[in-house]
Symmetry: C2
Amino acid sequence: MGTVTLGASLSCAMPHGPGDRVQLGHGSGGKMSAALLKQCFLPHLGNPTLAALGDGAVVPVEAGEVVVSTDSFVVSPLIFPGGDIGSLAVHGSLNDLAMMGAEPRWLTAGFIIEEGLPVADLSRIVQSMGEAARAAGVPVITGDTKVVERGKGDGLFINTTGIGVRHPRARPGPDRARPGDAILVSGPIGRHGMAIMAARGSLGFESALESDSACLWPMVRDLAELLEGDLHVLRDPTRGGVASALNEIAQASGVGVVLDDGVLPIPGEVNAACEMLGLDPLYVANEGVFVAFCPRARAPEALGILRAHPLGQESAIVGRAVEDHPGYVVLQTAVGAQRVVDLLPGDQLPRIC
Amino acid sequence: MGTVTLGASLSCAMPHGPGDRVQLGHGSGGKMSAALLKQCFLPHLGNPTLAALGDGAVVPVEAGEVVVSTDSFVVSPLIFPGGDIGSLAVHGSLNDLAMMGAEPRWLTAGFIIEEGLPVADLSRIVQSMGEAARAAGVPVITGDTKVVERGKGDGLFINTTGIGVRHPRARPGPDRARPGDAILVSGPIGRHGMAIMAARGSLGFESALESDSACLWPMVRDLAELLEGDLHVLRDPTRGGVASALNEIAQASGVGVVLDDGVLPIPGEVNAACEMLGLDPLYVANEGVFVAFCPRARAPEALGILRAHPLGQESAIVGRAVEDHPGYVVLQTAVGAQRVVDLLPGDQLPRIC
């Protein structure tokens, strides 16, 4: 065969300036996709596994039980006090693994970008994602980007799938609560949901509220090491809040749940904002808090472990599992009055995560 | 404590009729979410692991190399000749695993639903997803649903993450092509992209074109068993088509690629539709075809393996890797003329997958 003149350039097809926006062509899988990948993604998420850029990632595993969790994030707005959709997408999937007693090892990330998203916003969010992943010691090993036309998305949606390795002895499950268990909450509740409301301008006043978005694994790891088989249940009360999480546990385990009013760690600002909006903090989403069930006799040591962590300083024993009223959650006030804390039919706050 | 009257009903909060549509509350994580899950998802995707409905799934693994791939699907329209976004989302991630020489084992699924999507459409798509997953023998082990407001999505986006186990001896990689390799294509090209164009009404004429969306693992498995270490490269030419896939391989391996004009299996209808729209079939997306590189001496046996499969009956040897013009793909005509087949800057056809 003859020689061929190769005049085509393989350099970046679209250098980005400060005002640039994502275009449909960035989702093509062609040169523009490659340029966006090099500019926005690899600098922040880069690691040797991701850099191989195959159709997927290869990771070595020891024999055992692998735990897998997936979550799509559609939070609005994309950037809010205390975090953004990038850090939230990392913490969310890591926490789902932690709630199953699994050490998070790897993350995948899928991005659905609306045409017109400022490239600077995308970069900032991916950077925040990378920082959250590095802080947790969990690499993003493979990813995917798609672009949809303006008006067919909402800036950015992110899916993350977390893969972890199950703790050999701690086996928490939503169906393992037993009458006599104490219920612990690891930190102040309601902050994520109310921070999102504040970012949406729904509060009508200035607020210092910040999302609690955080990786829960370090606290869970220590709790699992302490309690092992006595760690009956772990659950992060995200959408639907503490009330929904406890209802699910009560139903799955066939126990009743009694919450003591007045001992739940609810920040004053969350209470004030909830009162003004007519919301109940028990139903407001959290992204850096978990509830745990363990035998009452072990609760004080467990609380000690939680309080040794920065995220757990306000952790508290907030109630107990009982044989009475299986499947239902009841709030008990100091004067003995009780009310059922039911599962809500729909959303208090849509697009909170 | 006293007794509590439990008047709240835990039955389905929203029975669905034929005209029903997804509402924002279905994404709440509350009763409506649970009802949608029971009606639309569990009947079609159900398996013991998914039915556990925890924050994730637990699966046993043997020690070895696990392969992970993630993909978001934003195809428009949602339902097209030969498939829909549900079956496509299964095949897409399974094929990404297969292209890394990995046996697909598990899938996760994340759904981002636009408020107003007919529940019947969602059910049909999830059913198709379940059928594709069962046909491939790969269960959907965990999932997630989110709902966004009308106008903030486009009916339905699906993310799937595939997890598989790497073949112990076949280790294909985009950087493993060597001068002297033959290039095989496993089946007729261009069908998925042109079926989507037909479904969009862009052809202006009736067409019998159907997407080739299919699981490639059975063919890949047999090829890997035959070739083992001689299976140098596998790639499914999705977005950007055969041309983009070969360009990526040429660049990653530092080889030149020569395609012989006239031997590529291009269906007559694909050719006709492409000519009318001014498209090049080499750049049109496929979802049930792969390209493979192996030493020339082994290509005839490899072709025999492919042709024994229903999907591989039109497989062909379409070119070769050469030392000349590394990083570039060249199409050579029967009369000796050559043209460079470059990577396109952006999209020929947006939202094809």
